[in-house]
Every structure is written in structure tokens, then in C-alpha cells.
């Protein structure tokens, strides 16, 4: 299967904070569009501008993390709006996997659907990995979906979790569910024919 994702390797960018919502990942004014093209440059637009205004640098602007492909976040990442524009913006910025303590359900589903594994680690490990990436931004991190661990090229290794359904989807290359759903279309029609509200409750 050409779409199998067994692991993702690359440098990591830490974005700290719990409850980072999808309005922060991609502010609503950038949703006035009919394609996802070009969203990458607007990822975290307002957070980045605010950090610059305060004389600092958001990790997405920090040259040490340029070219990073693994996002290290904390708890409840991607909460709020269901906008797929959020993971699309991250992916178009260059993110190919996410490591966090937890995710909003909808954001996580969107990540799976676009082929971006988003794995869970403990609170302590999420902070350890963020500290490590900050100390040594040139390290290569690997999110290994077969062994369910996140490794760094300095030898650090922590266990991670991913629900068995999405994990199998990545490992088998079926994370884009549409193909399998289409195969089930005859069964969908059969199910619909039995639903009381589609039969006039007869």
C-alpha cells in the first residue's frame, strides 16, 4: 500500500500550552476561502504576531525550528472549532506528525483523515520532549507507530499511545477512509432501508 505510514521522522518544534484551540491554530478570517491552498503560512498567525510584538519569537518563526516536521504540544490540543483548516494549515506548514498529551476528538479525527498521525504521551513526557527539542533543536525525532514510541536521536525514548483503529489505518494505508466506506455503500443502503425515520415509522 503506497499510503502506509509506519513512522514519521524529522526535527521537532515545541508549541507549549494546554487547550490551544483551532482559532489560534488558524484564525477564522483565513477560513474565507474555497481551497486549503496557502493556509500553511497563516498557521498560528495571531500568536506569532503577538509574540513578535512582545519582542519574542513564536516557535513557528524561530529559525532553530525551521523545517521541523513533528509538532510537540501539550493537553487538549486542537480544541474548539471543527475546522479541518487547522490540521491542513499545520500540514501545509510542514508538520507530518503531532505528539501531545491529548487532543480534541474532532481535531484528532481530522488529522487521521489527512494522514497526520497524532499520538499521545504523558504530561511529563510531553514536557520532557519539548525541553529536549528546545535544548537540541537539531535532533531527529521519530514517531514510531509500530512500536508506539517516540524516540530522539540522542537515545531518548518514551512510550506513546494511539487508538487501535487509527493505528491500523496508518499501518495499513487506509487512513483515508473513503475507499472502504464506498465499498460498504450497498450495506449503507440496506441499513438505511431499515431505519424507522426513513420508513415513515411504519
Amino acid at each position: 500500500m503506497p499510503n502506509r505510514i509506519l513512522e514519521v521522522s524529522g526535527r521537532a518544534v515545541p508549541v507549549r500550552g494546554n487547550d490551544i484551540d483551532t482559532d489560534r491554530i488558524i484564525p477564522a478570517r483565513f477560513l474565507r476561502c474555497v481551497t486549503f491552498d496557502g493556509l500553511g503560512q497563516h498557521a498560528f498567525a495571531d500568536d506569532r504576531a503577538q509574540r513578535r510584538a512582545q519582542g519574542g519569537l513564536h516557535p513557528f518563526d524561530d529559525p532553530r525550528f525551521a523545517g521541523a516536521s513533528i509538532l510537540l504540544a501539550n493537553a487538549n490540543f486542537g480544541c474548539g472549532s471543527s475546522r479541518e483548516h487547522a490540521p491542513q494549515a499545520l500540514a501545509r506548514w510542514g508538520i507530518r506528525a503531532i505528539v501531545a498529551v491529548s487532543y480534541s476528538e474532532i481535531f484528532h479525527g481530522n488529522c487521521v483523515a489527512i494522514g497526520v498521525p497524532a499520538v499521545r504521551v504523558s504530561q511529563l513526557d510531553s514536557e520532557r520532549l519539548q525541553d529536549l527539542a528546545e535544548r537540541a533543536p537539531t535532533l531527529t525525532f521519530t514517531v514510531d507507530l509500530e512500536r508506539l514510541e517516540v524516540r530522539a536521536s540522542d537515545g531518548t525514548s518514551v512510550p506513546c499511545q494511539l487508538a487501535e483503529g487509527p493505528r491500523r489505518q496508518f499501518l495499513s494505508g487506509s487512513w483515508d477512509a473513503l475507499g472502504e466506506l464506498l465499498e460498504g455503500l450497498p450495506a449503507v443502503r440496506a441499513r438505511a432501508a431499515q431505519l424507522p425515520y426513513l420508513r415513515g415509522f411504519a
Partner: protein, 484 residues
């Protein structure tokens, strides 16, 4: 005996099992989606993907489209002044035409916020699965439907197959005892629940709202509660259907008619959770203990009773304190500060949380009792949730009351809940809003600030120009007019 197993299921279990098509190789379930709602923001890419793959819409009659997020609520003449908004509107018009989907546009009489129009037209019914590319789809759970937000790839999946690949959620029963005091609304109840269970406490759960306080609520109030389940991390929230549900549905355009309605009620009653259903978790709340709520921070779970001080950092677990400090700084509030009397710049009444007729009536009651005008310097505006809500409010003369007291009266849409249309905060303006999210930048200015509250609280703040306690108004003037 054979019924023993069958009598221990929640509504969530029953609806899930009824809609399960098959088990996919990944172990997930292919779940049939009974009602699909789409709007202009999260659907255009899905249609583009259908075209790329040469696919059709499998059940076009099970999808309803409207436009709500980007529509201006003042000048709605076409083309819209914002060319990007106009482009999005044209895209959904073209997509619905090409794929045979019903579209309710401004001027149709049926347009409005997607989560307001589907219930008011009787499309939302107990026992359905409902999906929409919008997180506040949880609203429809008020009817005993399993309703949840999805992303655009999943919008494509539903269009192409009327189904989704999903894993089951756990179910937490949230039992609310007692009754809400006067001046305390469904909005205050859900803000309180969020504060206790936190913004992430519901991740992995569906919330079943139960107990006498919930079943005393009207359908519109139940929608307010379920709407914000997502703010607690729960992808869906629901209330078991009861007589209030059936009374609401009876006679609505898309509800079952005639004898079919009686059969439907039988089916709906059977879909409710069994008394001995097994839950993954249970929590109990006391409605009587609540006061009107306001938020002080940048997450909907950062709420307090209106008379309480902003909590100190020590009230939060250590790993949360950096975020709490960020919230104090962004909002410009101090721990220990009371927000009563804090001046506000903007008051917004509307949204899928609180944009229904009963919300506007509650705001109007405050305006009548207070008798004054919107404080000079405050921008106060009211955005009905749908064209039908607007019509009904105008039939009661509410628009004249609001206009006479200095409020703006707008056309239906999402408006300043998420500020994708021209209604936006400017700079660090402080808004008090009946919407659902106080996130940084949510209301259109990257530095704009939001206090979430109920419609009566927002109406009163507009008149006083500052955060105020609606109970004082209701108590002090309770002789003036009998409570309806």
C-alpha cells in the same frame, strides 16, 4: 429473560447500534448518518474532492445546506462587499445545484444558523445520527439525537457514502438535580458544568444530560446546554426525549405528520436510555446552588458566579498555571478581582448557543424592566439565529423594543460569535457575549476580549455599560410586571 441485556443500554448505545452498517478492517464502525447539514465554510473543499474522484452524492435528500458563517447581518445585497464571502456563497450555490442538494439562502425565509434551522423545521429528531462540519452540531443532541461535528474530509465521506468511519465514545451521565433560580438560565448551568468538569474533561465521552433540572428545561434551553458540550471536550451531548421534545416537534414542517407522528413517539420513547443503563461515568450537580455565570478568561471553562472573585492560580493544578497566567494577562484581570461593574465595549446577543426566540424574549424582559437605553459608547447588537426567529420576534414587536432602547437589530447569521463576517471587535475591546467561545481573538480582533454570559446578563450589561447582576434587576422590579 431475553430482554435483560437489551434493557441496560443508553440512548447512545441504541442509536449507535441502529446506525452501525458494518465493522471496517481497522476495527472502526461504518456508521450511517441520518441527517447531514452543511454550510459555506467547511464544505467547498469536500465538493472539490468529489469532483476530483468523479463521485456523486449518495443521499442528496439527507443533506441540507445553508449559509450562516460569512453572511453580513446588515447589508445583504449581492454581490457581498467582501469578495471572499461572495466567492464562498457562489461556491455553495454551484455545489448544491450540481449535486442536487437543498440550499436555504438569505431571503428564502428558512435561512439561519445551521443548528437553529434544522430543529425549528423539524429536521432534527430523536434517535437520529446527525453530522455537520461544525463543532456545535452537539446542539441537536437536545432532541435525543447523536449529533457531532466533523472535518471537511469527513464531510466528503458523508456526501459520498452517507456514512463515517468512527469509534464509539464512552458515556458520562451528568445528572442535574433541583431547579434553576430566577435569573439563572440554561447558559449559566452549562458554564457551571464546564467549570467543574473542565474544557478537556469530556474528551472521549458523550455527555448525557439528565435529572429533573434538565427535564424541566424547554427544548430551546436544552439546545443551549447540549450546544456547549463540545466546550467541555465532549463531541456530543444529548438529553433523552420526553413529552417536551414531542410537543416541540409536533406540527413542524419536517416532523412526521398525522398517524406517523404517534408511531414516531413510540419509537422515540423506546430510544431513551433505560433506567438501569450502564454508564462509563456519572456526575451529579445541584441546579439550585447556581448564580448567573460569567467567564473571566480565555477558555469557556474559566467561569465564575457573577459575585465571585477571579480565582487565584492556586485554585488550579500546577501544570495549568502557565495557561491561567496567560488568561489573566490577556483579559487584563487580576486574581481576587470582582468583575461586577467592569465596563464593557460591546454586547452581542445571538449565535447557535443563544440566538433563539426564547433568548431574545429573555433579553427583552430585561430591557423592559430596566427601562433605560444602551449606555453611550457601548455597541449592542442582536442577531436572531434564523430568519424564522427574526420573523417571530418581530411579530411580537421585540425589534421595536430593542431599537427604541438603543440596540441594533440585525439579519440572521453567526455574526460576532466567530467574526467571519464584518461584525468584529476592534483592538482590545471587551465584549460580553451570549456565544460559546471566549478564545483569544475569537471575536475578530487578535487582541479582542470576550466574557461569556446569558442573554439577560448581556442585555443588562449593555444597558448599564458594565458587568451587572441580573438578579438585582429582577428582584428589585419584580412588582412592576408579573413573571410570564
Amino acid at each position: 429473560m431475553k430482554h435483560q441485556f437489551m434493557s441496560q443500554r443508553t440512548l447512545y448505545d441504541k442509536v449507535w447500534e441502529r446506525h452501525a452498517v458494518r465493522t471496517l478492517p481497522s476495527g472502526q464502525t461504518q456508521l450511517f448518518i441520518g441527517l447531514h447539514l452543511i454550510h459555506e465554510v467547511t464544505s467547498p473543499q469536500a465538493f472539490a474532492w468529489l469532483r476530483e474522484r468523479g463521485l456523486r452524492v449518495a443521499f442528496p435528500e439527507r443533506t441540507l445546506a445553508t449559509v450562516d458563517h460569512i453572511v453580513p447581518t446588515d447589508d445583504q445585497s449581492r454581490p457581498y462587499r467582501d469578495p471572499l464571502a461572495e466567492e464562498m456563497l457562489q461556491a455553495i450555490e454551484r455545489n448544491c445545484r450540481e449535486f442536487g442538494i437543498r440550499l436555504y439562502q438569505p431571503g428564502s425565509g428558512k435561512q439561519g444558523v445551521v443548528h437553529i434551522i434544522a430543529p425549528e423545521q423539524g429536521l432534527t429528531q430523536p434517535g437520529m445520527t446527525i453530522a455537520c462540519g461544525d463543532s456545535h452540531t452537539a446542539t441537536h443532541g437536545a432532541f435525543g439525537a447523536i449529533a457531532f461535528g466533523i472535518g471537511t474530509s469527513q464531510v466528503r465521506d458523508v456526501l459520498a457514502t452517507q456514512s463515517l468511519a468512527l469509534s464509539r465514545l464512552k458515556v458520562r451521565r451528568i445528572e442535574v438535580r433541583g431547579a434553576l433560580a430566577r435569573g439563572v438560565t440554561a447558559k449559566d448551568l452549562i458554564l457551571h458544568i464546564l467549570r467543574v468538569l473542565t474544557a478537556k474533561g469530556g474528551v472521549g465521552y458523550a455527555y448525557e444530560f439528565a435529572g429533573e433540572a434538565i427535564h424541566r428545561l424547554s427544548m430551546e434551553e436544552r439546545m443551549t446546554v447540549c450546544n456547549m458540550a463540545i466546550e467541555g471536550g465532549a463531541r456530543c451531548g444529548y438529553v433523552n426525549p420526553d413529552a417536551i421534545t414531542y410537543d416541540y416537534l409536533r406540527g413542524r414542517e419536517h416532523a412526521p405528520q398525522g398517524e406517523a407522528f404517534a408511531r414516531a413517539v413510540q419509537d422515540w420513547s423506546a430510544i431513551a436510555s433505560d433506567p438501569d443503563a450502564a454508564y462509563d461515568d456519572r456526575r451529579v450537580f445541584d441546579a439550585g446552588a447556581l448564580e448567573p455565570m460569567i467567564t473571566w478568561g480565555i477558555s469557556p471553562d474559566q467561569g465564575i458566579g457573577v459575585s465571585e472573585p477571579v480565582p487565584p492560580p492556586e485554585a488550579f493544578p500546577e501544570h495549568e498555571r502557565a495557561g491561567v497566567a496567560e488568561a489573566y494577562a490577556y483579559m487584563g484581570v487580576r486574581p481576587g478581582q470582582r468583575l461586577l461593574g467592569l465596563p464593557i465595549d460591546v454586547a452581542f446577543i445571538g449565535s447557535c448557543t443563544n440566538g433563539r426566540l426564547s433568548d431574545l424574549r429573555a433579553a427583552a424582559e430585561v430591557v423592559r424592566r430596566h427601562g433605560g437605553r444602551v449606555k453611550p459608547g457601548v455597541k449592542a447588537f442582536i442577531v436572531p439565529g434564523s430568519e424564522a426567529v427574526k420573523r417571530a420576534a418581530e411579530a411580537e414587536g421585540l425589534h421595536e423594543l430593542f431599537l427604541a432602547h438603543g440596540f441594533e437589530w440585525r439579519a440572521a447569521g453567526c455574526s460576532m460569535c466567530l467574526a467571519m463576517n464584518p461584525d468584529r471587535l476592534v483592538g482590545r475591546q471587551l465584549a460580553i457575549s451570549t456565544s460559546n467561545r471566549n478564545f483569544k481573538g475569537r471575536q475578530g480582533s487578535p487582541e479582542g476580549r470576550t466574557i461569556l454570559a446569558s442573554p439577560p446578563m448581556v442585555a443588562l450589561a449593555a444597558l448599564e455599560g458594565a458587568v451587572s447582576d441580573v438578579r438585582q434587576l429582577l428582584h428589585s422590579s419584580s412588582h412592576a410586571e408579573p413573571h410570564p
